[in-house]
Symmetry: C2
Amino acid sequence: MAGTDKISRFDVIFEAEGSNTSKFRNDVKVHLRGPHPVSVDLPTDEGPLHGGDGTAPYPLAYFTSGLTACVMTQLRAFARRLDIAIGDIVVNTRCHWQAQQTGNAPYESAPIGFTMDIDIGGEASEADKRRLVLAAQKGCFVEQSLKPGLVQHRLKVGGSWVAV
Amino acid sequence: MAGTDKISRFDVIFEAEGSNTSKFRNDVKVHLRGPHPVSVDLPTDEGPLHGGDGTAPYPLAYFTSGLTACVMTQLRAFARRLDIAIGDIVVNTRCHWQAQQTGNAPYESAPIGFTMDIDIGGEASEADKRRLVLAAQKGCFVEQSLKPGLVQHRLKVGGSWVAV
């Protein structure tokens, strides 16, 4: 980058309208705001064994996809910006929480740890792939909203997984 | 609750398998692990104006629904546990991020603030509704994974919005 490149900022705003009338079904409409608005229905429900009717995905399923896909999108976008030649991307994420309750009182929940195993195809060097993963972390809107240190990343190098 | 009520813990684990072959479409399969497993396809894409094909929701749309619905689910579940009589629940969430870039280098993103406006119907007192919102915050797996203080909640009381 030339030293004279301009610093610029942009805002990203998503809004949700959720309604719940009785059981665990939540009707949720999500809107991307700004110059190119998009709206989508993303309802949720709990499964029958958690008291719901299983009419839609769990809220945490959306969360887990959102986190995974946000990092993947930045890997793809920033590979172009960094001119790093990559092939297919495969990411396996594990989100682990624990809840504690006394009797039947409301429980308190806490994240134990999230891991993302990232396999980037193509002939790019290990150094370039590491550089790309670090850039994707910093650019990922979801990850930057999480408690620092919560997500641990590993990169596939040869046949092994190495921490990034 | 009786003083002899037992403390118990349980784990919640969601895993995602994501793959991306070229553009911004991410095929993501999410699995709830544990005794009652469920799997669901939750692909993502960027809109045409962000370089994608608009074949699926944005990753941040899933995130915003997941956050909103997680709190709503706990409001419904914990109203029962706390024996607070409530009616319909309406939640409006706003997630605001900002990104900064130099020239065309990868940008760095940061959350500016998330707000949740919560309207709980029914005859429950303001004190009970506040107690319920506080319990839902502590029980919400998504919110407990976010940077502390990032989410601000307001409760509708009469015709006004008051901070919780």
